[in-house]
Amino acid sequence: MNIRYFAWVRERVGVEEETIEVPASVATVADLIAHLKTLDETYAAAFDEEDAIRVALDQVHVEADTILGDAREIAFFPPMTGG
């Protein structure tokens, strides 16, 4: 699955974009975040303020309990500050 990061989430993870293998046990957005946090210290720190992170699945806003299904792209970013 393709993962994209923006703003301070991108800076903390250290990459803009990456592709990861999603284990079969991962069903929802929250499951994926929990999985990423187990990978290493960097992810654990980046997702530490989990409530402050927003998620888009295939470029549509979703909540933590959304099923990943066959989405190709997920993005993590802070609350938006455009306008």
């Binding site: 703003a7 470029q59 549509v60 806003h61 970013f77 938006m80 500050t81 455009g82 306008g83």
Partner: protein, 163 residues
């Protein structure tokens, strides 16, 4: 007749007058045009520039969804949304929204709604680059010379007015 909104995300500045002209020229059904222009401000004189990061693809898509929602809620004759990204200096334009309608209340409400939702849902993030304290002109790369703008709870309150 279904109205198709014009949505653009671009590096370069926009021309509000020209965009307004596109919504009115050759027509006799537009009675009200409400234009919102958001600019980069810096009362304190400490800002060198804003850097606007965005999510290419989703930014356009989400602005399109918000614009579509506005069109379904109000009887508009036209709707334009342009958001800039990249480096923007104090006094420069950031965002343009123009709502056209036969009646002024629809135009006001649609533009207001669009800005509220754009603020909380369009994937843009502002980073402030500050002028260096020492000489007040240069721009630093060191500690504390740039910071992400935090989202305002006021924006959430504004967006909740429409639900």
């Amino acid at each position: 007749m279904t109205v198709t909104p014009l949505v653009r995300v671009q590096l370069e500045d926009f021309d509000a007058q020209a965009e307004a002209g596109h919504l009115t020229e050759g027509r006799r059904d537009v009675g009200a045009l409400v234009t919102f222009t958001g600019l980069c401000r810096d009362e304190a004189g400490t800002l060198s520039a804003l850097e606007l990061e965005h999510y290419p693809g989703m930014a356009e898509a989400e602005l399109g969804r918000i614009a579509g929602e506005a069109i379904s809620r109000w009887p508009l004759t036209g709707l334009t949304v342009i958001h800039r990204h990249g480096r923007i200096r104090p006094g420069e334009n950031i965002v343009l929204v123009i709502a056209a309608s036969s009646h002024r209340r629809a135009a006001f409400e649609a533009a207001d709604f669009l800005m509220d939702f754009l603020k909380t849902r369009a994937p843009f993030w502002k980073k402030e680059h500050l002028v260096q304290a020492e000489d007040g002109t240069g721009e630093g790369d060191g500690n504390r010379t740039s910071a992400w703008v935090e989202a305002s709870t006021r924006d959430d309150v504004d967006a909740d007015r429409w639900t």
